[in-house]
């Protein structure tokens, strides 16, 4: 199966990702598996192109796997996909999101990206942007991402404070020794941990604490709880300079 999602992202249709279900608890964010799209295989001598909703798709005849579409071809394909999506979702006002003008603060010197933000349903002004992926995002994108990230961190916060979620057999949670993740110093890893006789990462220390003072079972590095714990601990040290190897 060949899919060409990236081509669509590049021409500004990525805002459809907003339609993904909201994740207020952050649990889904912590899941290790990424969403998988399921589209039918292409027939011989063709390529299937999918929309980022993971459902809508079309077959481009005459395009061989690995071959690039011309710009005109790509615009035709994406137009067709969008039309199909609109037909299936007559009530969705995706255009409104793009009409939502950025706030004045967004054009401040701290946010130079504003000049590259694309307008409603179009590619951004080719004069003012370099045509890269990030240049096409609207301020709303950043807000959504921040909310998703905060939800992820918040799930880590819950795990950090819960002996139950940590699987402690003796009623101990991380915050009992590390309020606000104090003294976890994630910015100092990797570093040689004398007690372990090897170089340790933050997650090695998290696992050590879970196994010893907390008396629980160590987590797989991809375990949603491990990922969320790392997220929470790192988030508490925003602005602290990275200083690996520090003792």
């Amino acid at each position: 199966m060949v899919t060409v999602t990236a081509a669509l992202v590049a021409i500004g249709l990525v805002t459809l990702r907003y339609l993904a279900a909201a994740d207020p608890t952050g649990v889904a964010q912590a899941q290790s598996s990424l969403p998988a799209h399921s589209v039918p295989s292409a027939s011989r001598g063709a390529v299937v192109v999918e929309l980022c909703d993971g459902v809508t798709h079309t077959e481009v005849k005459g395009l061989k796997p690995g071959q690039q579409m011309t710009r005109a071809q790509a615009l035709a394909v994406t137009g067709q996909l969008m039309a199909e999506w609109r037909r299936k979702h007559p009530d969705r006002h995706w255009v409104l999101a793009q009409n939502d003008q950025a706030s004045p603060s967004a054009s401040s010197p701290e946010n130079p990206a504003r000049g590259n933000i694309a307008g409603p349903g179009e590619t951004a002004n080719t004069k003012s942007q370099q045509g890269d992926t990030y240049a096409s995002f609207h301020e709303r994108d950043f807000k959504v991402w921040q909310a998703q990230t905060d939800a992820f961190v918040n799930y880590g916060n819950q795990v950090f404070h819960s002996a139950k979620l940590l699987g402690s057999t003796i009623g101990v949670s991380c915050d009992m020794c590390h309020p606000n993740a104090a003294n976890t110093h994630p910015e100092t890893y990797p570093k040689y941990q004398e007690q372990l006789q090897r170089v340790a990462l933050l997650r090695d220390m998290i696992d050590w604490c879970i196994e010893n003072p907390i008396k629980g079972k160590t987590l797989d590095p991809n375990d949603p709880k491990m990922r969320a714990l790392e997220a929470y601990i790192l988030a508490q040290r925003k602005g602290v300079a990275l200083d690996y190897g520090k003792h």
Partner: protein, 382 residues
Amino acid sequence: MAARHKSVETRFYEDRDRVLRALRNCDRRTFLKLSAATMGAVMAKGLVPPHTFQLIEVANAAVDKNWGTHGAQGSAPFRFAYISDAHLYERTLNQRFIRAIVKAVDDVNALDPQPDFVLYGGDLAQLGSPGQLETGRQILGNLKAPVKMMVGEHDWFLDLGEKWQELFGPPTYSFDWKGVHVVVLQSVYEKDFWTARKMTPAERMQTVAGLDNAVQSRFEVGDAQREWLKNDLAKVSKSTPLLIFSHSPLYKYYRPWNFWTEDAEQVQAILKQHEKVTVIHGHTHQMLFNQIGNISFYGMLSTAWPWPYAPEGLPKLTVQMNRADPFDQFDGCGDGEFTARTDQLVDTVYNLWDRNPVTVRADYLVSGGKVDRPPAPQFASY
């Protein structure tokens, strides 16, 4: 990682088990060999048995010339020990914290001569349940010296002090001891944050038990108890030294973690009318000292775990203890001892387990840090 890397604690218990196994059924010659080997191991670590506690000089002849000059006729130097912040669960759930308080009880029982009394600094239980409090009382019952109890928030907020008071009596009281007036306060009252949120008692307790949540109120001594304190001190001469035991610090260190007493200034205003005042508090689980006017403050160590130093608000005179080794259950924890001197100042010994004890002389505090500065840590907080 589990199989290859063992904590100091795990290794210690394995070594100990091995020795104990070997000791069974061994003949005299083997026994002597074994005891020589264990002694050698202890010496090799630079520890002199009994290494977990070191007696300090009790009375200083040089200060005896002050005898009586402060109008405290009949006062005498005396020592008392403390154990604090054990945060016990019941034995069936958690042996770690039990082991720690038992170690402290052993330390204090090994003191020779025995202290006049032992202050228990509060937070006997982790979540205030009757079983936890009773477990603690049973363990403290093994102390040879008399015990003076103080309450902490972990003891209080499940049933608002009902069980604790049933076991130990009123949380606020005072007594006179060898010329010193001693006051024990309940300094962990909080304004009602639970009714409006419809919290169960267990939820209320769990909320107070967490340091880094913004939900709970700040600690306070409260109007009624401050009034009681005023009346209590009205009967005491201004020149009589005061020793105040409080679970919360009675000053403002770091609000977000409730290292804080909301009405601290009002309490200090009452205390500072007396010439010599020493406040000894629990709750902060770290080497911590402060001087505000004529009031000296000492924070007590916990047996359960050390808290990190707060990111701001640390009193200038505090010399941080070395960072704790997370691989050693006992590091950064401990117990300690106070000496009420004949000049009415109070010295303290921080008996940090598995480290050299740190003595903080009152002279360091009252001189504003000019003399007797305690040794600096090699590794301060990050």
